[in-house]
């Protein structure tokens, strides 16, 4: 079984599924309600919902007939946290890169460069 984060990203990498999530952000909805704005069949919408549910992005009610779908914001928050960790990681690395480049150019000004490309 793939890890949950991979499943979440995979689930989000589809415009229809993101549209479904955006709709659910306004409140719970049934499969029929969710299918309305899309030119796709009910079974196709159901498949999308299954993917979203598998990724922990939505949950579905127990009532056999209408099984309302509900957004699970925790999972989206996890994705957002994950991305912001990487943004910090690289931005801080690039700060260090800039400082190191400065060191390098100072070194070059003082002594002959060791490796010249051409």
């Amino acid at each position: 079984m793939p890890d949950l984060l991979s499943a979440t990203f995979s689930a989000l990498a589809d415009p229809t599924r993101r549209a479904i999530l955006a709709r659910l952000a306004h409140g719970a909805a049934t499969v029929n309600e969710l299918a309305e704005p899309f030119e796709i069949s009910l079974p196709a919408v159901s498949r999308h919902l299954k993917v979203l549910e598998g990724a922990g992005l939505i949950s579905r009610g127990r009532e056999a007939q209408w099984r309302p779908c509900k957004l699970e914001p925790e999972r989206l928050k996890a994705v957002d946290d994950w991305l912001s960790v990487y943004r910090r990681f690289w931005e801080q690395s690039f700060d260090k890169m800039a400082a190191y480049l400065e060191e390098l150019s100072e070194g070059e000004a003082n002594e002959r460069p060791k490796k010249k490309r051409r």
Binding site: D3, A13, R18, L71, P73, Q92, K96
Partner: protein, 159 residues
């Protein structure tokens, strides 16, 4: 002329940065282990270990260390190398954690700008380049909006 729009930028983590050095130097900071050890990792981390087999299909492996977070290894394979211009490699954290084992793809381009370098960095959490390239739509935009939604809903539910 092609549009200046970065067509896949909104699918990914995108960080654009100008460095005060020519592209050959900025590129070398990625391609040489000795250079990489001098800057890789966030503030408060050092990068004591790095090995680089710099050719397409070659592997790199490195470790960043901090007092708080310990030793963290990551590794990957070079997919594309265009000296001083473009670099594509996979990127996977080996340690336990939320991203462990998730293979990401990093794409970096380097452009000369008046003796300086515009470095465009992208990172995508896809299992491979083929999957990434088959995707359309804006993740980052979606995340921005949805995270805001999610937080407001979480607050409502907590209230």
């Amino acid at each position: 002329m092609s549009a200046r729009r970065k067509s896949v930028a909104d699918n990914e983590l995108l960080i654009v940065r100008t460095f005060n050095a020519p592209p050959s130097v900025v590129f070398a900071l990625w391609s040489s282990a000795e250079h990489m050890k001098r800057w890789m990792g966030p503030k408060d981390f050092t990068c004591p270990e790095a090995t680089i087999d710099f050719r397409v299909g070659g592997r790199y492996r490195a470790m960043i260390r901090s007092a708080q977070h310990g030793d963290n290894w990551f590794s990957g394979v070079y997919r594309e190398i265009v000296p001083d211009k473009r670099l594509v490699f996979t990127y996977t954290w080996e340690n336990e954690g939320p991203s462990a084992g998730l293979e990401m793809l990093v794409t970096i381009t380097f452009e000369a700008r008046d003796g300086r370098t515009l470095q465009t960095f992208r990172q995508a959490p896809f299992s491979n380049a083929e999957r990434r390239d088959s995707h359309v739509g804006g993740w980052m935009q979606a995340f921005d909006k949805q995270a805001a939604y999610a937080e407001s809903i979480a607050k409502e539910q907590a209230a």
